[in-house]
Amino acid sequence: MSTGRGIGGGIGGGIDGLGLDDDDRFPRPLPFADTDVGLAPASATPNPAKVGSASVRIEGVVKRHGATTVLHGVDLQIAPGEFFVLLGPSGSGKTTTLRILAGLEAVSAGRVMMDGTDVTTREPGARDVAMVFQSYALYPHMTVAQNIAFPLRMVGTPREQVARAVESAAARVGIGHLLERTPGQLSGGQQQRVALARAIVRQPRLFLLDEPLSNLDAKLRLETRLELRRLQRSLGVTTVYVTHDQEEAMTLADRIAVFMDGRIVQVGTPRQIFARPLSVDVAAFIGTPPMNLLAGAWEGHAVTVGGSTVAVAAETRTVRDVVVGIRPHDLRLADGGLRARVEGVEELGDSAIVDLVVDERLVKLKTDRPPVLREGEPVFVAFAPEDAHLFDAESGARIA
C-alpha cells in the first residue's frame, strides 16, 4: 500500500510548517499522463501565474445543528499552494468544515480567514473559491462548454475570453473533444473532469474538493488521483480536499488533518501521521491494514501482553496500563516474543497478510515472503523495540 512515502517529504512539518519548496510543487510529469484517461501533457498549456493562491485560517469554528454539535471548535491553518486533506470517517465533520470554507454553511461560532481577511459572513460567490462536489453538480441542461463557461459568464467575462479559457481548461483535464455534449452523455469519469474544468477555469484562489473520486471505479480512481495531484501542483492553487479514504489522503496531501467526532485530532504530513499517530483512534484509522492494538502493562523497557514480555524503546518508572500499537509490516515471525496462534494467511500476490490471534485479539502481520503455515499452528511474533507505539490505556493519547 501507499504510505505517502516521499510525497510529503520535502514539506516542513507541523501545523506551522508552511514552507513548500519548488521541487515538491512541480514534480516530473507522471508516466501515465497520456493514457486513455490521461490529461493532456503538461506542456500543452502553459502554467498560469499562480497569483492570489489563498492562505486559509480557521479559528475556533463551532457548528451546531439544533441540539447536536457537529464541530467542536476547529482550528486550522493552510498555507498558499498547499494540498490539504481533511480526513476522517463519515460524520466526523470534515465535509461541514469544507462547506463552511465555501460559505455554504454558517458557523455557530469562530472565524474563517482568507489571506488575513475575515470572510466568515461572506456569501459563497464573494469568496473566490471553486468547489467540486461529490455528485459533480453539473448543470444537466447545458453542454460541457456551457458548464465550464458558467462561472466566467456570471461575472461578465467577454465572449472571446470565455471561449479561450474554456478550451484551455478543457484541454488541461483532457475533455477538449467533449465540449458539445451534455453531462448526461458522459461517463462518470468524464463528468468528474467537467466538474474539475469548471472549477479551474476561473482561476480561483482556493479549491475545495468534496470526495471527488468516490463515485469512480477503483482503477479510474487510482489514475485520477495522481492526475489530480499533478494538476494541483501545476496550478499551484491552495486546495482543501475531503475524503474518508486514508490511502487517497496519504498519496495526495501535503498535510492532513484527521477528524474524529467533530474535532481535529491530528494535523501533519502523511509521513508524520503514519509514523506517529497521536491517539489510538488515529492509529486504528490510518494504514492498510490498520495498526494492531493490544492491551498491555508497561514497566521499565518492556511491555507484557498476554503473559509474554517484549522490549520497547521507551522507558517508564512506574507500571502503566497501555495500548501497544504495532504496524502489520513491523511485525515478524520469530523464535521468541509474543505468543500467537495462526488463523489463516491472505495471499496478496507480492505480499501476504498473516492473521494471528495474540492475547485473544486478532492481529495482522504483513510480510513480503509468504510463510508456510498451518491454521492453528502456535508461533511467536516479534517487533523491533522502536516500532512499538504506546498509548495511554484510558485516554488513548500517545505516550511514546
Binding site: L104, P124, F133, A137, Y139, P151, M154, V155, R198, R202
Partner: protein
C-alpha cells in the same frame, strides 16, 4: 424467446389493446357524436333513429361564429381570463414554490398546510362570500374580479404541484451556481428554472385548463361583459328549445384550443404525471 412464452404474451397484448380500445371508445364517443352533430341540420339532429349518413353543413359554425349568437366574444373572454389567470399564477407560484422547497423560514410547515387546506374547501361554499365581496368592491362582471377568484384556486394548486419539481433539483446544483458567483436570483433563473420547465409546462396547462373549463364561478360572478364560452353555451339552451347543432358547433370550437394545447404539451404532461408530482392533483383539471 421460447415459443411457449409467446401465447401468454400475445394474449396479454390483446387484452391490453382491448382495454385501451374500450377506454378510447368511451372517451371518444361523445366527442365524435358532438362533432357529427355540429355538421348536421337541426332536423337531422332530431331524426330518430339517428342518421349516420347525412349532408354535412357548415351553417352551425357560421352561426356560432358570425351569427347573432356569435360566441367569438365569449371565446375572447375565456382566453383573456384563462391567460391572465395562468400568467399571474405562475408569477406568484414559481417563487413561492421555490421558497417552500428550498428556504428555511418560520412556520414553513404551517404555511404548506394552509396552502393545501384551501384546496379542501368546496368551491360552492365560497361562491356567495365571493359574490358579496366582489359586489362590494365593484368586481362583479370584470376580468379582474374573475381572474382574482381563479387565482385563489389555481395558486395553491400550482404551488403544491411545483414544490415537488423544485425539490427534485439537487441542492448541490444550486450551491454550485452560488459558488460560481451567480447569486440566488441568477441561480434560480439559469440553473433551477431550466430544470423545472417540465413542471412549469404541466402547471401552465393544468391552470389554463381549469380556468378555461370553469363554469360555476363564471356564471355567477361574470355577466354580460365578461362571459366565458362555458357560460355562453347556455345561450343555445332555452325554455322553448335546445339548439343542439349550434350547441355542438360551439362546444367543438370551445374544445379546440384545449385539445390543441393538450396535444402540444402531451410529452410534458405524461412526464409530469410520471414524476409522481401530481398524485391525484388533477382534481380540478
Amino acid at each position: 424467446m421460447t415459443t411457449s412464452a409467446a401465447p401468454p404474451r400475445a394474449a396479454r397484448a390483446i387484452a391490453l389493446y382491448a382495454i385501451a380500445g374500450a377506454g378510447l371508445a368511451v372517451w371518444t364517443f361523445p366527442v365524435v357524436w358532438g362533432l357529427l352533430t355540429s355538421f348536421k341540420t337541426e332536423r337531422d339532429v332530431l331524426a330518430y333513429p339517428p342518421v349516420w349518413i347525412f349532408t354535412p353543413t357548415l351553417a352551425n359554425y357560421r352561426d356560432v361564429l358570425f351569427g347573432s349568437a356569435s360566441i367569438v366574444p365569449n371565446l375572447f373572454s375565456s382566453l383573456v381570463v384563462a391567460t391572465l389567470a395562468t400568467a399571474l399564477t405562475l408569477v406568484f407560484a414559481i417563487p413561492a414554490a421555490y421558497a417552500m422547497a428550498r428556504l428555511r423560514f418560520p412556520a414553513k410547515k404551517t404555511t404548506g398546510f394552509y396552502v393545501l387546506a384551501t384546496q379542501m374547501l368546496p368551491p360552492v361554499g365560497l361562491i356567495i362570500p365571493y359574490y358579496l365581496v366582489l359586489q362590494k368592491i365593484g368586481g362583479l362582471d370584470t376580468y379582474g374580479g374573475l381572474v382574482v377568484i381563479y387565482l385563489t384556486f389555481s395558486l395553491p394548486f400550482a404551488i403544491w404541484l411545483l414544490v415537488s419539481y423544485f425539490e427534485d433539483v439537487p441542492v448541490e446544483m444550486e450551491e454550485a451556481a452560488l459558488l460560481d458567483r451567480a447569486g440566488r436570483v441568477r441561480a434560480l433563473w439559469y440553473v433551477i428554472l431550466p430544470q423545472v420547465k417540465g413542471g412549469i409546462a404541466v402547471t401552465t396547462i393544468f391552470v389554463f385548463l381549469n380556468a378555461w373549463n370553469e363554469f360555476m364561478f363564471a356564471v355567477v360572478l361574470g355577466g354580460n361583459r365578461v362571459r366565458p364560452v362555458t357560460v355562453a353555451m347556455f345561450n343555445f339552451i332555452s325554455v322553448e328549445q335546445t339548439q343542439w347543432a349550434r350547441l355542438a358547433a360551439g362546444a367543438m370550437l370551445a374544445m379546440a384550443p384545449v385539445i390543441l394545447l393538450g396535444l402540444f404539451a402531451q410529452r410534458h404532461i405524461v412526464k409530469g404525471l410520471t414524476v409522481g408530482a401530481v398524485k391525484g392533483g388533477g382534481r380540478r383539471a
